[in-house]
Structures are given as structure tokens and as C-alpha cells.
């Protein structure tokens, strides 16, 4: 929590707590056809509050990754509706979806977050450049300082450690001030120390900066950083935990048979 002090001074306009940042309604996603068809999402209804850190958990094959991909507009659904803010994204075509991802959503993936040809700075600013937006210099400096990337900006991904790479990915997600940041197992490839650092930053961006973060994880420790844990099993909602701790998450998962 060394950085928390620096950040408290920089609390910007907080997201409107209480409104819904993303929501799924009767979501169905089927893989395959006929006998081999698998209902990855089987009529899910779930809403994610703005300004909150939500973790999606569940055993392997529960549909947690699929749910996130659909919410983020990365994948199509078979039926049901998804809203990001007021926009029903299930009605958008590929081009508009791309624009939505570019302008309103941020991503942190498990691995391979960065383009190997670009420097850390170029990677951070890539989304803004794609959108043709000018970066807010002050905001950029703030993020870079907070994430401790100042002297790493000219380095290429291959010259960065795994933790540093994930922090660059976080910076990229934050710099555009998106409505929602989706994080797909952001700590899955990291050692526990680097993982803790990344999770700290994500939590801080929610608490201090009013960011909305939705994270998929299978790690109860990671989930304990969230405000709320949504549990999935067999493509359905299987419960939720508010203010989770590692123990409460482990218990809940044990009940799901994971």
C-alpha cells in the first residue's frame, strides 16, 4: 500500500455509485450443435454496479469466462440482452462493438496483453490512438507514477517482467477512463507478490478513482480483493458474496463442488 498515499490526493470525479455499469438479461450462449451442444450460459441475469469491484467465480466450465467475453462485446450471444451503461450492445454490429470496446471499455488479460513491437508507453496509449483521442497528459503522468512505470516507458514488453507487463496493461485500461474495466484472470500468470500488487491497483482504482472493474478469477485470494463475488455454475448464477474474504469464497466454492 505504499502507493495509496500518492493516490489519495488524486481522487477524481468518482463514478456514480449505485447505477448499473453492465448488465446481462436472460443470457444464453450455446457451443456446438445437437447432442454435443453445451449451454455455456443458460439464462443468466446479473447486474454490475458502477464504481464497484466485482469478481466472477466458478469452477472450470461454469461459464465465467464466456460471461465476461459476452459482457465485454468480445463474443456474440445466442439470446438475451447485454447492456453497457444505457447501450444494449447485443444489438450492435461488429463495427459499433469495436468502437464501444475502444471508447468505453478497458481490458486486462491474463497474458499477452501487450504488442511486442511497441514500447510500454506506446502500448499504454494504443487505445487512445486508435480512437484518435488526445491523451490527458496529467492523467497519464499520474497513472504512470502510481503504477511505478516511469522508468520503464521506453522498454519493450520482452524487456519487462511479468508483473511489469500486467501493470502496463492496467495503465492502458485506466488511461482512457473507460466505463468498465474487464480483467480476465489478471494475476493468473504472476507470482503472488506481483499478483497482489496488480490487485491492489485494481481495487484502488475503484475505491479512490471511482472506476468500475469486473474480474474473472478462479483464485479465492484474488476474489477477496473485490466488493462482491458473483458465483457461477453450469452456466447459471449460483449465488453471490458481498465483502468477501478468502475463507468465505473458499467455502462458497466448496458448496458448488469445485
Amino acid at each position: 500500500m505504499r502507493k495509496a498515499h500518492d493516490m489519495s490526493a488524486l481522487v477524481s470525479e468518482a463514478g456514480a455509485v449505485g447505477t448499473t455499469a453492465a448488465a446481462a438479461h436472460n443470457l444464453v450462449k450455446v457451443y456446438g450443435k445437437g447432442d454435443t451442444a453445451v449451454r455455456a450460459l443458460d439464462g443468466i441475469n446479473v447486474a454490475f454496479q458502477a464504481g464497484k469491484f466485482t469478481a466472477i467465480m466458478g469452477p472450470s466450465g461454469s461459464g465465467k469466462s464466456t460471461l465476461m467475453h459476452c459482457l465485454a462485446g468480445l463474443d456474440t450471444v445466442d439470446s438475451g440482452a447485454i447492456h453497457i451503461g444505457q447501450t444494449e450492445i447485443t444489438r450492435l454490429n461488429d463495427k459499433d462493438l469495436t468502437k464501444l470496446r475502444r471508447d468505453r471499455v478497458g481490458f486486462v488479460f491474463q497474458a499477452f496483453n501487450l504488442l511486442p513491437t511497441l514500447t510500454a508507453e506506446q502500448n499504454i496509449l494504443l487505445g487512445l490512438e486508435l480512437a484518435g483521442r488526445k491523451p490527458d497528459k496529467q492523467w497519464f503522468d499520474t497513472i504512470v507514477t502510481v503504477l511505478g512505470l516511469r522508468d520503464r516507458l521506453t522498454h519493450r514488453p520482452t524487456e519487462l517482467s511479468g508483473g511489469q507487463q500486467q501493470r502496463v496493461a492496467c495503465a492502458r485500461a485506466l488511461v482512457a477512463r473507460p466505463e468498465v474495466i474487464f480483467a480476465d484472470e489478471p494475476t493468473g500468470n504472476l507470482d503472488s507478490r506481483s499478483g497482489a500488487e496488480v490487485l491492489d491497483f485494481l481495487r484502488m482504482s475503484v475505491r479512490k478513482l471511482g472506476q468500475t472493474v469486473i474480474m474473472v478469477t478462479h483464485d479465492p485470494v484474488a476474489a477477496s480483493y473485490a466488493d462482491r463475488v458473483v458465483l457461477l455454475a453450469d452456466g447459471r448464477l449460483a449465488g453471490e458474496i458481498h465483502q468477501p474474504t478468502t475463507e468465505s469464497v473458499v467455502n462458497a466454492l466448496a458448496h458448488l463442488g469445485a
Partner: protein
């Protein structure tokens, strides 16, 4: 292990298909080049040495034979036909007869009997059929065109003793270029019986024979020599071909050498495309190989599996490529012949397949594939399996800095090349200069290619600076991420473009050279002569001719008979001084003819010997002293050549007119139009007859053009292969960067932008190859032009900007096409599936 190999082949179909295409293309290129090369060889042999076609043995009189007047004894033909090993034999002879044209004027024509052995006919039938009866005749297509004769017409010939013979035209034919056909006179073929009635006295100058299958040319020659005894020259068909080609000009042999060089280049380009594909492929397989090792496969087993796979792929793709190459060369030939020169109609599609072609095709296909697969696999298996498993599949990891060794090797090669160029430029003679310099430029090219990874990123960055927009910038970064790969990909194109640019630069001047050579043989385009000796062509008629449009110069020829104290006869030939050295250009052994002044003479060297004079001394003719300024090697022109004024001064009374008028057309004149124009004036004189070299020249130039077209076709082939190389690299890169593309799409790159990114990358690679190639090619072209030029024969160096611009444009268009499929593929991929790809 076999199961793993087969499973591997099945699982990685897409990638294997791609690399198979690369191999097949490479093999197709080599096959196509060699087949085309052999086809060009056959074509030139057929055009320039048609009289040696199918001939296995040829009998001539010995050079110093006393029988020259009588020719080869007629009974030899029967003897040779009865000789063992002879399948068929024919005698060759020709006679002269006067052809009475539609205008009633008589013209000298050459008549040949039709060989009875079909294989030994040195003509290609164009229309109708060959004559069979004594009253039938076939006409050379050029003669038919000029004299406006067609099949079914009646034709009259004046034979010996002014006897008139009448024939029905049954066909027309095309003659190969030979010293006979290039003599400019009209040609006819009659049946052997017809020949005897027209020219009773037979004078055989050559007997040609075909061997039975299984009998070698040398065996046949030996048998025939035994049959006919000594005193005759018996040659193999191969020797005859060489002799004939040497007689016609050595253009054909130069082309053959050029084609061989090109085939070698095609081997290198093909090898590069294949090697490049495989390096990418194996780099991606490193993980898989490591996994195999982790589960207990021995290094040797892994190695053998890669080897077996490569052999299988190499063989399969080589078969496809081989067939494809034959198809491509057939296609290119049909394209060429559809817009070939004046003789375009006669070119047929030839597909000679030699053992060399087969060996080269499969050699490249299998050996290069195996090497390209095995070398990287060896490297891959030397890494500890776990380390290999951990490494990212992205090839930017193995971007090695251009090693010092590479630079040193390139420097040594460049030095060698530079020395070669220097040595080549020192050569006085045209041919060695051309070959040494040409070879040396290829060595320099090799050095430049080796240094590719060094300057390709620089050029890429230079181009990248000009680019705007995120996709274009990403493209530039992608093109620069693996300098070795980009360099290798662009290298194939670079070679192709270098050769094109070089050929474009040299071909222009090369064509000039060849046209000049033809010009030397036929300095004038037309000769107008009088058919009646006592009625020479008047000065007024000459003036009328000079007024005809597109006529650049009319040079009258005046024979003047004088006396000399030093010579038995002293008949000189006079020409206007402006025609000397241009229209009149006899081979000289000494001195010069250009700028001959009144009172000077260029003497025939034999005459000079008789008179006991040399250059610098004087010879008296009809009371005047002529200063000898040069010596002629030729046998015409009487005692020698003087100016027109000098010739007139020798005559006792002023000349009534001229026996001969030489006509030169302005460069680039349409021959058919010029002939119509000239004929209008000629019709006004009852005695004037038009003899032509122009049509012969046009035909020869057409053949040169056709050969140049062939070379262009080869170069086109190289470009196509190189662009497929780009497409292939790009496709593999797209496969390799699936996750990256998905990430970009997730971050907000639209499908269109993703496609744009790949297209720009493709254009960048094409432009790097093309621009460097053009620069190299122009430079090498300049060196070559410098090498061929000598004080007597200057070729001016010029860069055909239009053609080179078109070439760069084509490269860009082709790059866009090359990127089309990979871009489509990349854009279609789903983001989620892409991110999941390991």
C-alpha cells in the same frame, strides 16, 4: 513415431498447405524457367538454324575441293540412303530462275527442290501443302506477300535458255533465318521432278541425313564417311547447327548463356522462398517439439520425424510444382505468341523436358525443403525441452543482431564482386566484358542480399516515417520486428526486380546492338535496280524516289570502267560520299571509308596486292592518281570504292544513269507502307525493279523482339514467385500473430483497420524489395552498358523511368493482392478464439 508424424500432418493442415504452396511455387519457378529456357533454345535453333533441324549428319564438299563447280556427285545420295543407320537422306541444291511478277517484270528468285524426307524439310508450311507434281510450286510467305501471290494462282518462271514454265501455287511456307533466306531474294519450292525441268543441271551443295533410332550422330557420320570416301566434309547435326548459328550470328548462344544464368537465379529465389517459409514454420513448432521431448521422445526421434515430414512434403509439393511449372511455361508462351513480332504466327508452344529440368526441380523441392526443415529443427532440439516450452512462440525472440561474421562475409563477397566488375570493365571484347561484369554484378547482389537484415529495417523506418495513422504505424512496426525474416522475404522480390531493371536498362541498348548488327548486314533497306542493262535508272528517277515520304537517303551506284597501268581491269564503284560508312559499309581490313574524298579510293585488298600498293600509296586509274585510304575484305565493288564524282570523272562520257539505287528509310518506318509508297514511283519506270532487304530485316528484328519477350516472361515469373513469397510470409505471420490481432481487435481496432494494417505491411515489404531492386538493377545495368561499350561501339545509358515507374506500381498492386487472403483470414478470426490460441 509414424503415428505422431501422420497426426501432426493432419493437425497442422493449414500451415502445411501453405508451406507446400511455397515449395510448389519454388519448384514451378525452376521448372518453368528451365522449360522456357529450353523452349527459347529450340526456338532460336529453329529460327536461326532451321536448315540443321533434325539433321544427324551433313555432307559438304571439302573447302578446297576442285569440284566446287559441279557440286557433290548425284549418286552419293543413293549411296548414303543405302548406308547402315540412315533412316532418310536428302540432297540440297538451289537454282536460279526469273520470277515474272504480276507487273510483268522479271525478278531473280531462288528455287529449291522439296526434300522427300519429311523430317529434313527446313521449311514450315503455312498455307496449303507442299508441291507434289512437276507443275506445282510453293512460295515463301514473304515472297507471296510482296508479290501478292496466293494459293491457287498461276506463277511463271523463266528457266535456263529463257524457257518459260508455268506452275500452280499449292502452298506457302516460312523459311528459317539462314544465309540463303537472308540474301533478300525471293524463294520458291518445287517438287524434285519440277526442279529438273527448270534447272536441268544438278548442283548439290549439301546432303543431309537422319539416323535410325539408336544410332548416334557420330556413328552415322562414321558410316557415311566410310561409304563416300575421303575428300568430303561430314559433320554431325550438332556441328552443323553450331556452324549455322555461327554463320547467322551468335545471338542465340548468348541467349542460352543468359537463360542458364537465369535458371541459376531461379534456383536461388525458389530456395529462399522455401527456406523462409520453413524457418517460420519450425520456429512456431519449437514448443511442440519440446513437448514431444518432455514426454520422452529422444532427440533423434524428434529429428527423424521432422525429416520424414519434410521429405514427404517436399516430394508431394515438387510433383505439383513440376506440373505447375510446365503449365506456367505453356501459358506464358501462348501469351507471348499472341503478341509476338511479325513472325509471331509461327511460334508454337514448346515444352521440352530434359533430365536436367527434372533433377533441378526435385532437387530444389526436396533438398531445400529438407535442409530448411532440418537445420532449424536441430537448433530447436538442442534447447532444453523445458526452456523451449516456456518461451513465447513469437519469433521476435530469435531476432539475432546481424552478426559480425555476416558482415565480414558480405564484405569479402562485395570485394570479390567489385574486383570482378573492375576486371570486366577492362575487357576490350564485348562478350567477355558482358559475362565477367554480369557475373560480378550477381556476386555483388549476393553481398547486398546478405546484408539485408542490416539495411532492410533502416529502409523500413524511412518508409514508416512517411506513414500516418495507427494501422499503418503498426504495419511498419510489424515489418521491422524481424529484420531477418523481412529481409529474406523481400530478397526474392529484390532479385526479381534487380534483374528486370537490369534487363530493362540493358535490353534497350542490347536491342540497339542487335539491330545495328542486322543493319551492318543490310545497310540499305531497299535496292532499286534496272532489269535491262542498257537502260540504267535516270537521275530524275532517283530524285523522284528521294521525294517519297520516309525515305531518308537514296544513294546511286555508278560502275565506272577505267584503265590502270598497275591492274588488268580497273572498274571502280562510285557512291555519294554521304552514303559511305552508312549505306555502304563493306568490311574493312584496314583504314576507313567514312568521309572518303574525291581522289581517294578504298581498294579491295586482293586488288591492292595485285597492284602492289597499300594504305597511303597511290594507284593510277585512267590517268588520275588515287590515294589508297582503306582496304576492303569483301569480294564485290570491283577494284574499289570511290566517290560518285570520282567515278564520273573516270567515265569517258557522262553517265546516262545508274544500275542501282540504294534506299534507306527513316528509322521506325512502317515497312508495308513504305513499300506501297515506293512501288508507286517504281511503276513509272518500265525497267525499275524493287529488291528488298527491309522485310528480311523486319523479320529478323521481330525474332529478336520475340526472344526479348521470352526474357520478360521469365522475369515476370520471378516476380510472381516473389510476390507469392510475400503472401506466404504474411499468411504465416498472421497465423503467428493471431493473439496479437485478437488483442488489437479487443482494444478497438476495427476489421477494416486490421486488414489495412496487413495490406500496408505487404506494400512496405514489396516496396523495400522493389526500390532496392530498382536501384541495384539500374546500377548494374549501367555497369553492363559500360562494359559492352567500347570506343567503336558506344551505347548510351538511359534509365527507362516510365517502365520502372510501372514496375513499382505493379509491385504495389501485387502487394495488395498478396495481402488480400491473409488479411481476410486475420479479420475473420473471432477475438475470443484468437485470445485463446496458445
Amino acid at each position: 513415431m509414424w503415428k505422431t508424424i501422420l497426426a501432426g500432418l493432419r493437425a497442422r493442415t493449414a500451415r502445411l498447405v501453405l508451406s507446400s504452396i511455397a515449395i510448389a511455387l519454388g519448384v514451378a519457378f525452376v521448372t518453368g524457367t528451365l522449360v522456357l529456357g529450353d523452349a527459347v533454345g529450340e526456338q532460336t535453333r529453329d529460327n536461326f538454324a532451321r536448315s540443321a533441324r533434325n539433321v544427324d549428319a551433313a555432307v559438304h564438299l571439302a573447302e578446297n575441293s576442285t569440284e566446287q563447280e559441279k557440286g557433290i556427285p548425284a549418286d552419293f545420295l543413293q549411296k548414303i540412303r543405302a548406308t547402315s543407320g540412315v533412316e532418310g537422306a536428302d540432297s540440297r541444291e538451289f537454282g536460279r530462275a526469273a520470277l515474272i511478277g504480276g507487273d510483268g517484270k522479271a525478278k531473280q528468285a531462288l528455287v529449291q527442290p522439296l526434300p522427300t524426307t519429311e523430317k529434313l524439310r527446313d521449311f514450315n508450311l503455312k498455307d496449303g501443302r507442299f508441291p507434289t507434281g512437276a507443275d506445282e510450286i510453293a512460295v515463301d510467305s514473304k515472297t507471296a506477300q510482296i508479290a501478292k501471290l496466293k494459293v491457287g494462282d498461276t506463277l511463271k518462271l523463266l528457266g535456263e535458255g529463257e524457257a518459260e514454265h508455268s506452275y500452280t501455287i499449292v502452298g506457302s511456307y516460312q523459311q528459317g533465318a539462314s544465309s540463303l533466306s537472308m540474301s533478300g531474294s525471293d524463294h520458291l519450292i518445287v517438287s524434285p521432278e519440277g526442279m529438273r525441268t527448270l534447272v536441268p543441271e544438278q548442283r548439290i551443295y549439301e546432303i543431309v541425313a537422319v539416323a535410325k533410332s539408336g544410332v548416334s550422330q557420330q556413328q552415322l557420320v562414321d558410316n557415311i564417311t566410310k561409304t563416300i570416301g575421303p575428300g568430303y566434309q561430314v559433320q554431325t547435326g550438332e556441328e552443323l547447327t553450331k556452324a549455322t548459328l555461327a554463320q547467322v550470328g551468335d545471338a542465340a548462344s548468348e541467349i542460352k548463356t543468359f537463360l542458364l544464368a537465369f535458371a541459376a537465379i531461379s534456383l536461388i529465389v525458389a530456395g529462399m522462398v522455401i527456406y523462409n517459409t520453413f524457418t517460420i514454420l519450425v520456429a512456431q513448432r519449437t514448443k511442440e517439439l519440446a513437448l514431444l521431448r518432455c514426454v520422452g521422445a529422444e532427440r533423434g526421434q524428434v529429428f527423424r520425424s521432422v525429416l520424414a515430414e519434410a521429405v514427404f512434403m517436399g516430394l508431394a509439393a515438387s510433383v505439383l510444382g513440376f506440373l505447375g511449372g510446365i503449365g506456367v511455361s505453356a501459358g506464358l508462351q501462348s501469351v507471348i505468341s499472341s503478341f509476338g513480332g511479325p513472325s509471331g504466327g509461327e511460334s508454337e508452344i514448346r515444352l521440352p523436358i530434359s533430365w536436367v529440368t527434372i533433377a533441378a526441380a526435385f532437387g530444389v523441392g526436396v533438398v531445400v525443403t529438407v535442409l530448411s526443415a532440418v537445420l532449424p529443427a536441430r537448433r530447436a532440439t538442442q534447447v532444453a525441452p523445458v526452456a523451449a516450452l516456456r518461451s513465447q512462440p513469437d519469433s521476435s525472440d530469435d531476432v539475432a543482431r546481424t552478426g559480425k561474421i555476416r558482415i565480414a562475409v558480405a564484405a569479402v563477397i562485395a570485394l570479390l564482386g567489385g574486383a570482378g566488375v573492375y576486371f570486366g570493365l577492362q575487357q576490350q571484347r564485348e562478350e567477355p566484358a558482358l559475362f565477367i561484369t554480369g557475373g560480378a554484378t550477381m556476386v555483388l547482389l549476393l553481398a547486398v542480399l546478405l546484408l539485408g537484415p542490416l539495411y532492410v529495417p533502416l529502409v523500413n523506418r524511412l518508409f514508416g516515417k512517411a506513414l500516418r495513422g495507427v494501422p499503418a504505424k503498426l504495419a511498419s512496426a510489424n515489418a521491422g520486428r524481424n529484420p531477418k525474416r523481412t529481409a529474406a522475404t523481400t530478397a526474392a522480390l529484390m532479385i526479381g526486380v534487380t534483374i528486370v531493371a537490369m534487363v530493362t536498362v540493358v535490353a534497350g541498348s542490347g536491342r540497339e546492338t542487335m539491330i545495328k548488327k542486322v543493319d551492318e548486314r543490310f545497310p540499305s533497306d531497299y535496292a532499286v535496280s534496272s532489269s535491262v542493262y542498257d537502260q540504267p535508272l535516270t537521275q530524275k528517277f532517283a530524285d523522284e524516289l528521294a521525294k517519297v515520304r520516309n525515305v531518308a537517303l537514296v544513294a546511286p551506284e555508278l560502275r565506272a570502267f577505267g584503265e590502270s597501268t598497275k591492274l588488268e581491269y580497273a572498274d571502280v564503284t562510285g557512291y555519294p560520299s554521304e552514303a559511305l560508312g552508312s549505306l555502304v559499309r563493306p568490311p574493312l581490313s584496314e583504314g576507313t571509308i567514312t568521309g572518303l574524298k574525291d581522289g581517294e579510293i578504298v581498294m579491295r585488298d586482293k586488288e591492292a596486292q595485285k597492284a602492289g600498293v597499300g594504305v597511303g600509296s597511290t594507284v593510277p586509274i585512267s590517268g588520275k592518281d588515287f590515294k589508297v585510304v582503306g582496304l576492303i575484305k569483301d569480294n564485290s565493288y570491283g577494284t574499289g570504292i570511290v566517290t560518285l564524282a570520282s567515278a564520273q570523272s573516270i567515265l569517258k562520257e557522262p553517265a546516262k544513269g545508274y544500275q542501282n539505287l540504294l534506299v534507306k528509310l527513316a528509322p521506325g518506318t512502317d515497312i508495308a507502307q513504305a513499300r506501297t509508297d515506293l512501288e508507286r514511283v517504281i511503276a513509272t519506270s518500265p525497267v525499275a525493279v524493287l529488291n528488298s532487304a527491309a522485310e528480311t530485316k523486319a523479320e529478323l528484328n521481330g525474332q529478336i523482339d520475340q526472344i526479348l519477350l521470352f526474357i520478360w516472361a521469365l522475369v515476370g515469373l520471378a516476380l510472381i514467385i516473389a510476390l507469392f513469397g510475400i503472401a506466404n510470409t504474411l499468411t504465416l505471420s498472421v497465423l503467428e500473430r493471431t493473439r496479437e490481432s485478437a488483442l488489437l481487435r479487443a482494444l478497438g481496432l476495427t476489421r477494416g483497420q486490421l486488414r489495412q494494417m496487413l495490406v500496408v505491411e505487404s506494400i512496405l515489404m514489396a516496396l523495400i524489395g522493389a526500390v532496392v531492386g530498382v536501384l541495384l538493377g539500374a546500377g548494374f545495368g549501367w555497369l553492363l552498358v559500360e562494359a559492352i561499350s567500347n570506343p567503336e561501339f558506344q551505347i548510351s545509358f538511359s534509365i527507362p523511368f516510365g517502365q520502372i515507374g510501372a514496375m513499382l506500381g505493379l509491385a504495389v498492386v501485387a502487394a495488395i493482392i498478396a495481402a488480400a487472403l491473409p488479411a481476410r483470414r486475420a479479420a475473420r478470426n473471432s477475438v475470443v478464439a484468437g485470445m485463446a490460441e496458445a
